[in-house]
């Protein structure tokens, strides 16, 4: 796209993105919180935005992104929240690409970035294992060098949208004789490689997005190594930082708060004082989180990354999402027990699903208890020394 969107005023930019959404966003995708675009739907979204010049707002222009200021990226998110858009994981562009831009070879970037941009190839993230969840560095899936290949054996789990992905970026153990973080490498594999199988897991929100991925002598070329051998933890950590900025954002709390307000209006509780106090607390939690998120993200872009507060924001955002989803059930009365959308005017959502979608938020990307441990060590030093 020749035009520099950064030159538009915020109002012009917002208006342009809003109009584009209103004209182009498929009505059937306007199921906030609950729906996540997967597979062909996700590809379709990336292709639509690519064709219209809206793809990859955070990527630098040299890689074909929009190179937008943080302020304008937040405007895009905010408009999608307002328009009740579905969630999009976009692991390739959001999680994998920043790490590849930083640590990948020129050949790797040439091979993998353009198809992500065009929406031709989707990625999934192979980190967690059955015995390595919050304690990720204890992972045991191994890769052994054999000629020009690595041979991968092991078992990944909670791999989001693995069944729809074309590729996986995976953390593997390449050295068992060193400190656990020091023996990990960052490898890329095709999902149709011989020996690789995927088994979706049904979850409490009726989704099968989370998968197990089994590696049984899966061979990948040695050129699929990103960064140096045994230095994968460094690559992964750089990417966890981006993930934490994303997970600490106010999108899901804000969308559920909008639903809460609709529900309160629809049930005639706008004047109820007890309800107003509870709603006001959630509202201020949301507004302050948004204020913190934009100021911290702004500082991170200037290079002042504050790790303690990044961990904290993930805790704050996911905890708030759960508290709002709990409040939805309280307001809905008996309708909270429906396995279908509630019968309240102006609210078309299945609240049980909202409640269930909020459950894993405090578990994934580092359980909140683990985040608190990490932040405590940053603030107060390690325990027991």
């Amino acid at each position: 796209m020749a035009e520099d969107l950064n030159l538009l005023s915020n109002d012009e930019f917002r208006q342009r993105w809003r109009s584009w959404l209103e004209e182009n966003y498929p009505e059937e995708w306007r199921v906030p919180i609950i729906l996540r675009l997967a597979g062909d739907e996700e590809r379709r979204w990336h292709r639509m935005t690519y064709a219209a010049g809206w793809r990859a707002p955070a990527w630098p222009k040299e890689y074909g992104g929009l190179g937008l200021s943080l302020e304008k990226q937040l405007i895009m998110n905010r408009e999608m929240e307002r328009y009740n858009c579905a969630r999009v994981l976009d692991s390739g562009a959001v999680l994998f690409a920043p790490a590849l831009m930083k640590y990948g070879t020129e050949e790797q970037k040439q091979r993998y970035l353009p198809p992500i941009l065009r929406g031709d190839e989707l990625w999934c993230q192979g980190y967690s294992e059955p015995n390595s969840g919050s304690d990720l560095a204890s992972l045991r899936t191994s890769a052994v060098r054999d000629g020009d290949d690595f041979v991968i054996n092991g078992h990944k789990i909670w791999t989001t949208l693995a069944a729809h992905a074309d590729h996986i970026f995976v953390l593997v153990r390449t050295n068992k004789d060193v400190k656990k973080q020091a023996g990990i490498s960052f490898l890329l594999a095709d999902m149709d490689a011989p020996g690789l199988t995927v088994r979706p897991i049904m979850n409490l929100a009726d989704e099968d997005e989370l998968c197990e991925v089994f590696f049984d002598n899966v061979r990948v070329p040695a050129t699929n190594l990103v960064g140096e051998i045994d230095q994968g933890w460094t690559v992964a950590k750089s990417l966890l930082g981006d993930e934490r900025i994303a997970n600490g954002g106010p999108t899901l709390p804000r969308q559920s708060f909008q639903v809460l307000e609709d529900l309160i209006e629809g049930t005639g509780l706008l004047d109820d004082l007890g309800q107003t106090d509870r709603t006001a607390t959630l509202f201020c939690d949301l507004e302050d989180l948004a204020a913190l998120h934009s100021q911290v993200a702004d500082a991170a872009i200037r290079g002042e990354v504050d790790n303690a507060v990044l961990g904290l924001m993930k805790v704050l955002a996911t905890d708030l999402f759960q508290r709002i989803s709990d409040e939805l059930l309280r307001v809905a009365g008996e309708d909270a027990g429906l396995q279908q959308p509630v019968g309240v005017a102006g609210v078309a959502l299945d609240l049980r699903k909202v409640y269930m979608v909020a459950r894993p938020a405090t578990i994934y990307a580092g359980a909140n208890e683990v985040q608190r441990n990490i932040v405590a060590t940053m603030l107060m030093g390690a325990a027991g020394r």
Binding site: T279, C284, R372, N373, V375, L379
Partner: protein, 373 residues
Amino acid sequence: MGWRVDDELQQMLRDSARHYLGDNGGPAHFRKVRANECGFDAAAWRQMGELGWTGVLLPEAAGGSELGLDAALTLAEEFGRAISPEPFVAAAVIAATVLAASEATAASALSRDLACGARSVTLAWQEQRGSIGIPRFATHLSAGKLNGTKRHVPAWHPGTGLLVAAVDGAETIVAVVDPATAGVAARPARLTDGTIGAELEFAGVELDGDAVILRGAAADAALELALGRGTVAISAQLEGLASALWQMTVAYMQQRSQFGSRLSDFQALRHRMVDLFGEIELAGASWRRAASALTAGQDARMAIHAAKARCSQVAQDVGRWSIQYHGAFGFTDEADVGLYVHSGLRWSTWLGNPAAHRREALACHRRERGRNG
């Protein structure tokens, strides 16, 4: 500082404030002043005048340093860290904003006194307990006489400069009133931050012809700006207090051992301190957002309500757990923690308490979204 960034001026002021308040603020200063007659240290106030702090929002023409709101808020944070009882928010932010909006002779005389720290000045606006913002005034001026009652007047002492907000017919006015004038009755009460608040009754108080310094729309705008700035400033002060108290509590937990472990080793306590730290981070972001909206001339009302709610709540929450984690020692007057909790009680309940501000913030949001009950 982490994600919080000072500009050069703010960094300079912060250094100078930490240096000065290190010697003339903090628990020892608080103990020295807490029972005195005027509720703060008049000598320290003069020195703060020399440092340019009392005139931070006053124009240079009136002897002020005119450093602006961001500078004032940095100072407010440091006053909070040092639990300074000197009336920075009441006088140097709220009263000064009203004075700076007036060109009347009576206003510039008070501005000069305030800017050099010779006097403090207070604004009497509130008339009902628990009211937030500028009320519809019952206090009125008619035929040159002022009648009415003002409550919760901050930073009171008999030598204070006094501004009174009232109505004259349908118009809002602000008048300079000499507290020694016949018909002014003051009922002072000591507050938990050591300062003195007063209920002031005006019974047929005769005002000079030039006592009214602001009138009509100019008075309304100045009062609204004064309370908006004051509310953000007390929020910054509360964040400073909460942050200092949190650090003091962690330091205590790191040296106090029980069952063979430092208190700071116990996971339940560590997680609580992390959650409180998170609340302090929200507080810091909340008042900074309100301040930038105010400085940019945007509608800052929702953000100001959210900021005062959050900063007040965090001061109360950190206060509660800091006493708990200091154990029985935390309940003694000898422990400094109680001084912070006492100051926090006053600051968090003045200018609207957390619950009231949360309701107001939600009401702003609902008005904007066209949702009415």
